[in-house]
């Protein structure tokens, strides 16, 4: 099997990219929803995590629709981390949609359309459907790839049951599936004819003596009986949004792949709601409400809030989790000020979870986890310094320094990051405080410094001043850009 060997080498070299929250694997709670100090990538924030655990339980039970939870807290206190943890704790079966408040502003779609799409993406429907599957033992598999490495692959597979045998030609997409599952002769597989999903059931008993040693997890199964093609009832989860897209006539299901869905008519949605309810009554479908997470929720404006007010009351609404780092601020689109930039009437429908700043010990723990995640070995002294930096400046800045310090350390061909490396990157890269300090000091040397604050206010009547007042709450870096 020369071909499969070649393919395997390719797969190994794939690199997993590390994101800001990729170290989080759950909420880190025990069975009675008590928060463990350090678990599953989560540190501290015990009360907030316990509260999130209760919310997760609520979603799992799936009885209550349209609840709203607000995660409020200062910047970098782990609001997004808790949301990611919730998503992980809920598992892949429950839909979890994550969006940022600013995502709804698009020229192609109205704000409320974007919101309702997001809401419907967060409701799963488990549907029992009869599909045609092919179930058999692989007798022979041939995959030919051209010598150049790219281009058309040609595949053939022979499948058999106890009664019959058939040759199949494989399309390009399904060849990929075969390679991913590492299917060889002797495996018993099922292929979903409609979706092209390949599933390995195990190895055939007749091939049990092919190798002297088998892995512990190798399962042996009987060769299937009867016909190769069977009709079977399968259960799959789709979101309401996917059903919408399939049924919005103008696009057809191809829109699912291209991502260009445009606006979906309300009539279509109503029809689908009715249909789904009908299915539920007949026992064909089950509704599986999930979670919609809106980060930076203060970026929504008053129309969106009023839309959400109404949307949350529908019995098909998911649990909505929002996060904001604003205090009392202006509601976007109005001149009124309100806590978290959210109108009081919506706030009234929410339960609010507060995140508190991390203690120095917790910061150290987080930095340690991040070091592990980024495969960076750090000397304890260096970690102490980094913790000090994190408490003085910000946690995000300190996390940035891990990667950079690691690179500097590798430059001098060492494996462990020491204090010198951290000091070096600390001098190389400015944090937000130092940067704005420098800006203030040398402001006169920068371009356009001759325009004073007052003149600027005269020049730009509405837009400029509005922008500044909003950025004022955000953080020093935004302020620095303005000057």
């Amino acid at each position: 099997m020369a071909e499969t060997e070649k393919i395997e080498v390719r797969d190994i070299t794939r690199i997993e990219r590390i994101g800001a929250h990729s170290h989080i694997r759950g909420l880190g709670l025990d069975d009675v929803l008590e928060a463990r100090a350090v678990s599953q990538g989560m540190v501290g924030q015990k009360d907030a995590r316990r509260a999130a655990g209760v919310v997760v339980q609520m979603v799992r039970e799936g009885k209550i629709a349209g609840r709203c939870i607000l995660l409020a807290g200062e910047p970098s206190t782990g609001k997004t981390a808790i949301a990611v943890g919730m998503a992980q704790a809920l598992g892949t079966e429950t839909p979890f949609t994550s969006m940022s408040g600013s995502e709804i502003y698009s020229l192609e779609m109205s704000k409320t359309e974007a919101l309702s799409q997001a809401l419907r993406k967060s409701i799963g429907v488990r549907i029992k459907e009869e599909t045609e599957i092919i179930e058999g033992e692989v007798v022979e598999i041939q995959i030919e790839r051209p010598a150049t490495g790219t281009g058309q692959k040609v595949g053939k597979v022979t499948l058999k049951t106890t009664e019959m045998e058939t040759n199949y030609d494989l399309g390009n997409k399904i060849i990929e599936c075969f390679m991913k599952e590492k299917i060889q002769a002797g495996d018993v597989i099922t292929i979903d004819k409609a979706s092209g999903k390949v599933n390995k059931l195990g190895r055939s008993f007749t091939r049990a003596r092919d190798y002297d040693a088998t892995g512990a997890q190798t399962r042996f199964v009987q060769c299937p009986e009867g016909e190769l093609q069977k009709r079977k009832e399968v259960v799959h989860t789709v979101t309401l949004h996917e059903i919408d897209v399939i049924n919005s006539r103008t696009h057809g299901f191809l829109a699912l792949f291209s991502g260009d869905t445009g606006e979906i008519k309300q009539e279509v949605r109503d029809q689908i709601n009715n249909k789904v309810l009908e299915w539920r009554e007949e026992g064909k479908a089950e509704i599986n409400p999930g979670v919609l997470f809106i980060d930076e929720v203060h970026m929504l404006d008053i129309e969106c809030f009023s839309y959400l007010n109404r949307a949350l009351e529908s019995d098909m609404a998911p649990v909505v989790v929002m996060a904001t780092n604003r205090g009392i601020t202006r509601i976007r689109g109005t001149n009124y000020r309100s806590p978290h930039g959210i109108p009081i009437d919506l706030l009234d429908r929410m339960i609010i979870i507060r995140t508190v700043p991390y203690s120095e010990k917790e910061v150290k723990e987080i930095l340690k986890i991040r070091c592990e995640e980024e495969d960076c070995i750090m000397h304890p002294d260096a970690l102490t310094i980094l913790t000090r930096i994190a408490t003085d400046t910000s946690l995000r800045y300190a996390i940035q320094l891990i990667t950079t310090a690691n690179l500097v350390c590798r430059r001098r061909k060492a494996t462990e990051v020491n204090t010198e490396d951290v000091k070096k990157v600390y001098s190389l890269f400015l944090d937000e405080n130092r940067s704005s300090k420098i800006l203030k000091e040398y402001q006169d040397d920068y371009m356009f410094s001759e325009i004073t604050e007052k003149e600027e206010e005269f020049a730009s009547v509405g837009g400029g001043s509005k922008r500044r007042s909003e950025a004022g709450g955000g953080g020093g870096d935004a302020q620095a850009m303005e000057h």
Binding site: T162, E165, Y168, E227
Partner: protein, 221 residues
């Protein structure tokens, strides 16, 4: 042992009929959402094709399932059937299929004659002794087995279901020539009677104008 149910089911449907060439095409729309299309030969009054369109749960456009007659299929069938009919021009690349039986795989077709129901399984190179065709009344179908374990098929016989008779071994005869296995099932009397009744039923259905003639007339202008 009666075809009452089937006749009632057909009567309940909304029927449309038109004549094209030497064919009379009838479309049934049943109250439960299913659709059936039939082609009758005007010369013999025998059904040449019958296809069903069943409701899919996930909605979308359901496809036609051919119960009887040849499936429209090109010689160099590259894409899958859905693509060929869909008219998505830029999608008809050669590689745009998931999985298909190879060209040499056995292919089952069914047709109805005046006296018999016939199945032809093409691409079957093995000699006649290999096949074992038996009626299976409990599965209400005919089962084709091969002693060399190369082919196995449970063939349902919906016609017999509709008049409530199980298939019997005595009515089956098997034939093999030109790489093709031909299974012939002699229609029982009750089935012939049912078909006659259905034809009577269709007599009352109004037939639209011949589309071909209409088109020809338009072209002439």
């Amino acid at each position: 042992m009666s075809y009452e149910n089937w006749l009632n089911y057909l009567t309940s449907a909304e029927k449309n009929s038109m004549i094209s060439g030497r064919l009379r095409k009838v479309l049934y729309k049943f109250p439960d959402g299913q659709q059936m299309a039939e082609d009758y030969s005007l010369d013999t009054g025998i059904v040449l094709r019958r296809a069903w369109r069943k409701c899919k749960q996930l909605m979308g456009q359901p496809e036609w399932e051919v119960e009887l007659g040849e499936e429209p299929r090109q010689l160099n069938w590259s894409g899958n059937k859905a693509n060929g009919a869909g008219g998505d021009v830029d999608n008809t690349h050669d590689d745009d299929f998931m999985l298909r039986e190879s060209n040499s795989a056995p292919l089952l077709t069914k047709r109805v004659t005046k006296k018999n129901v016939e199945w032809r399984i093409r691409n079957m190179p093995y000699p006649l002794e290999v096949y074992n065709v038996s009626a299976s009344p409990e599965q209400r179908s005919i089962v084709v087995r091969t002693t060399n374990k190369k082919y196995y098929k449970v063939i349902p016989v919906p016609e017999l279901d509709r008049c409530g008779t199980p298939p019997t071994q005595a009515n089956i005869s098997v034939h093999h020539q030109f790489n093709t296995l031909i299974i012939t099932y002699l229609k029982p009397a009750i089935l012939c009677e049912m078909e006659a009744q259905v034809l009577l039923l269709l007599k009352d259905v109004e037939t639209e104008t011949d589309m071909d003639d209409l088109l020809k007339g338009l072209m002439a202008k």
